[in-house]
């Protein structure tokens, strides 16, 4: 499964919520260097996951944001191009959604918690991803 190790995921999530490295270190009782190293590894793994997906499925990559853990891409399906939104969701892993489909509640909650949106709203999330 495409998922970060638990501790790494916890550190990445705190960073995605906007905490600075020093604040994460204080909260988790570890050194700033350990946080920095863990974040670097998390970023490398997320880049690898998104790039891997794009290569395997032949997506055209439009946007990749590692700090917040999402990718916007175009997928070719039967000669038609369709927008696809890929997210890394803690404890769930990588999930992809086609344009026009409703995002599940757990994804909207996650987007709200990391500040992508201010309300649990499908349209607001799409708007954020497209601007």
């Amino acid at each position: 499964m495409l998922k970060l190790p638990d501790r790494m995921e916890e550190i990445w999530l705190l960073r995605a919520k906007g905490l600075r490295e020093i604040e994460i270190a204080e909260r988790l009782g570890i050194s700033k260097q350990a946080v920095n190293k863990s974040l670097k590894e998390a970023k490398a793994k997320l880049f690898e996951m998104f790039l891997g997906l794009a290569e395997v499925f032949g997506f055209e990559v439009i946007r990749v944001n590692i700090e917040k853990g999402f990718m916007v891409a175009n997928a070719k399906i039967c000669e038609n191009e369709k927008r696809i939104y890929v997210f890394y969701v803690p404890k769930v892993g990588v999930r992809a959604f086609f344009e026009g489909s409703d995002f599940p509640e757990y994804l909207l909650k996650h987007a709200l918690s990391i500040g992508l949106i201010k309300n649990m709203n499908n349209r607001e999330l799409i708007q954020y991803l497209e601007e």
């Binding site: 670097k40 880049f47 990559v61 439009i62 946007r63 944001n65 700090e67 708007q127 497209e130």
Partner: protein, 247 residues
């Protein structure tokens, strides 16, 4: 290795400062200095504007280096967090990412105001042309930075139509106020202003060009991919960034 068909744009940091300084020198020279100092000032201004232009992009296994100022200014991008093909997003506006760019239309509008406040005794037609061109250029810049890149094509048609309409309007104004307009300088200024307006917008509308945003922890950079496979460029940048995180 040189990244083919991609170059950086002077939209942030030192290159943007060079461009702003270049435009400022042009305006200051034009408004406050006597000949030949004004010409020297304008030449330095244009030199700075050209120097702010991005030359090319070099990549290694773990580094992305942007080269500006004829290759003399090198900026290394560290800690990339985001790579975006702005030309493919439905609502991406340049102003959201590059707020400093707004200083350039502000220089144009200041020039228009200063020109209006100081009507010359000689060549009133030049005075009018400079004011109109400054307002015209402010509008062009705002169109490019405020509207989503993907929707600029629609506005390109509007700008071309407006430009075609602007020329007879200017000459009709001269006629109305009895200002003689058969002067080489007038034709030259009008020609430059009007030609560069649609050309500037075309730079963002041209289907062969794709604008890429690269966001690091501290800065944002704009790249333009020309005639190339933008998807491959994005993937190459992703690979370099991934390698940089593992070293």
């Amino acid at each position: 290795m040189r990244l083919e068909n991609v170059s950086p744009v002077n939209s942030s940091g030192i290159p943007l400062l060079l461009a702003i300084l270049g435009f400022l020198l042009n305006v200051l020279g034009l408004q406050f200095l006597p000949h030949p100092y004004s010409t020297i000032c304008e030449l330095i201004g244009w030199f700075l504007i050209f120097a702010s232009w991005g030359k090319d992009i070099l990549i290694t296994d773990t580094k992305v280096i942007l080269r500006y100022a004829f290759g003399f200014l090198k900026i290394e991008i560290e800690d990339i967090n985001e790579i975006t093909n702005l030309s493919e997003l439905n609502r991406a506006m340049l102003i959201k990412y590059f707020k400093g760019e707004i200083l350039i239309p502000m220089i144009f509008i200041s020039n228009a105001t200063l020109t209006l406040l100081n009507p010359p005794s000689k060549y009133p037609q030049l005075w009018l042309i400079d004011t109109v061109m400054s307002v015209y250029w402010t509008a062009i810049f705002l169109i490019v930075f405020v509207f989503p890149i993907k929707k600029l094509k629609k506005h390109f048609v509007t700008v071309v139509s407006f430009t075609v309409f602007l020329l007879p309007l200017l000459f009709w104004t001269f006629h109305l106020f009895g200002i003689p307009f058969r002067h080489d300088d007038v034709m030259f200024h009008t020609f430059l202003g009007v030609i560069f307006g649609p050309w500037f917008i075309w730079e963002f509308v041209d289907n062969r060009k794709r604008y890429l945003l690269v966001k690091s922890n501290r800065h944002k950079y704009l790249l333009v991919s020309v005639d190339g496979n933008t998807n491959e460029v994005v993937k190459t940048l992703l690979r370099v960034t991934q390698n940089a995180q593992t070293t």
